[in-house]
């Protein structure tokens, strides 16, 4: 099977055919961007120091090592819980023009709206697989907002076939993890009732 590869800058039409559950890979630039960077842009109205129009962000706080020649080496970089950025993401997509958001777990209804209105997708990189991800980073080209410390710095990574990325929110309003959660909640009802009948230890 040939790999489906997205390349930055990403155009709206690149995303039109993507559906939740599809597996893709990314080549180009991937910028780490998490809690405080979102807060600075949306609440504190500060301009992001990296232009990510048509680009991709990664909800991630990596381990980075400074090498003897002064360059940064990506040691370990896996996704962080995307839901923490839900509060800001719709506005973030609107203001930055970002096209691909990579993270872990699902995001909520506002991000889904943002992805539909401004054409973007959210994708899951398998959580905890941080060395696998680091080996797909060719180079850290820049590091911005280093005052935020190692996890929150905006690390500008050049990546090659970065993935697997599982589309969890597409441009059509579908949300994979929310759909799954609805299934889990349905499935759990009879299971919970069955257990309850067997744990009446207080008599």
């Amino acid at each position: 099977m040939t790999r489906k590869i997205l390349t930055t800058p990403i155009k709206d039409e690149d995303l039109a055919g993507l559906n939740i559950g599809d597996v893709i890979y990314l080549t180009g630039h991937l910028v780490t961007c998490r809690d405080v960077a979102h807060r600075r842009l949306i609440e504190l109205k500060r301009e992001l120091p990296v232009d990510i129009r048509g680009g991709a962000i990664f909800h991630a706080g990596p381990i980075v090592r400074k090498k003897a020649d002064g360059k940064f080496e990506m040691v370990s970089i896996g996704p962080t819980t995307s839901m923490r950025m839900e509060k800001f993401e719709k506005q973030f997509i609107k203001e930055t023009g970002v096209k691909l958001i990579v993270g872990k777990g699902g995001m909520g209804p506002e991000t889904v709206e943002g992805c539909m209105e401004y054409k973007a997708v959210h994708a899951i990189f398998p959580g905890g697989c941080a060395v696998l991800a680091a080996t797909q980073v060719e180079e850290i080209e820049r590091a911005e907002w280093q005052d935020l410390g190692m996890p929150e710095t905006l690390w500008v990574n050049r990546v090659k076939e970065f993935g697997p990325l599982i589309i969890s929110i597409d441009t059509k309003g579908n949300n994979l993890i929310e759909q799954n959660k609805a299934v889990f909640n349905e499935k759990k009802k009879p299971v919970v009732e069955k257990i309850k009948s067997q744990v009446r230890f207080i008599k």
């Binding site: 398998p126 696998l132 697997p164 959660k181 889990f184 919970v192 067997q198 744990v199 207080i202």
Partner: protein, 299 residues
């Protein structure tokens, strides 16, 4: 070895062990993940298990922390009252964390609250977090190291139920936590449940529960039955790796309990992600040691 040398030796061992457990999973977790992988049939879930296995191989070969979130460092100490370095242990573990942060390298994960500044050292007020149990009439020390990552810490919840809610209420609580917030915490999870008298006692026991081996059972037959029922029930829900649905949801459910006030049932849930990075090491009084959690480990 004089006392200063002994302090340096213990610090060095604990720093190296802390680094080690961030790169390689303990035997019980590794075995359970291999078992769950072979049972999986959903193609997306299988792909994730493949990535997980590739990642652990790469971490081992490249000698790097397998997950970038090396957590807040927590040490659970069970020390003999006559352990020679009992009074020095707090400083030893603080220095071990500093050294491990440099050696690992570990991600900087200690943010001073209210000042809201990352200390950059993984040490800060009351961090590394120490949990103490003193064993009378013993001169050794057993230390569990745990990397409390953000993702697996976020689902943590505790509340006090009224006795009328009973263990049925405990069941509801565990399922609600795992099927809502647990989905984002890198399943398959190791679920720790504390059943106790108040929020803080239940919370501490729920954390102790995930330090217990995968596949171990509570000594009380009713508690062991409940572990089994919760594990099977959660697996029936089929959360799968990363919440992508699959044949299982959890690596296991461990319950730790205490007696309770007749008017209360304190219940808490702590979760360990699939990359459940913990280690157990046992020191004798002469500081020779045995690594319990990782067979054949060389520091």
């Amino acid at each position: 070895m004089n006392k200063d040398e002994a302090i340096l030796s213990l610090t060095d061992t604990m720093a190296k062990f802390t680094v080690y457990i961030g790169k390689r999973l303990p035997n019980d977790v590794k075995d359970k993940l291999a078992e769950l992988r072979t049972m999986e049939t959903n193609p997306l879930a299988k792909a994730v298990y493949t990535s997980m296995a590739e990642n652990q191989d790469a971490a081992d070969k490249l000698d790097r922390p397998s997950c970038q979130d090396t957590g807040v460092i927590q040490y659970f100490i069970s020390a003999g009252a006559r352990f020679p370095l009992l009074g020095e242990l707090e400083e030893v573990l603080r220095n071990a964390t500093l050294e491990a942060t440099r050696m690992g390298p570990l991600r900087h994960n200690a943010v001073e609250t209210f000042d809201e500044k990352n200390t950059g050292t993984n040490t800060g007020s009351r961090i590394p977090w120490l949990d103490w149990e003193i064993v009378p009439d013993d001169d050794g020390a057993t230390i569990d190291v745990y990397m409390a990552g953000g993702g697996c810490t976020l689902p943590g919840s505790a509340k006090v139920l009224m006795p009328g809610e009973g263990y049925e209420g405990v069941t509801d609580f565990v399922f609600d936590v795992i099927t809502s917030r647990g989905v984002n915490a890198c399943p398959p999870l190791l679920v720790g449940v504390g059943v106790s008298t108040s929020v803080e006692t239940a919370a501490r026991l729920s954390k102790r529960a995930i330090l217990r081996e995968v596949g171990s059972h509570n000594a009380n037959p009713n508690a062991a039955l409940m572990e089994k029922l919760l594990e099977e029930g959660l697996n029936e829900v089929g959360i799968g790796p990363q919440g992508l649905t699959g044949a299982s949801s959890v690596m296991g459910v461990n319950i730790e309990a205490s007696a309770r006030h007749p008017s209360t049932i304190g219940v808490a849930v702590s979760t360990g992600c699939w990359a459940h990075r913990r280690g157990k090491i046992r020191f004798k009084a002469d500081l020779s040691y045995e690594i319990i959690s990782h067979k054949g480990a060389v520091l």
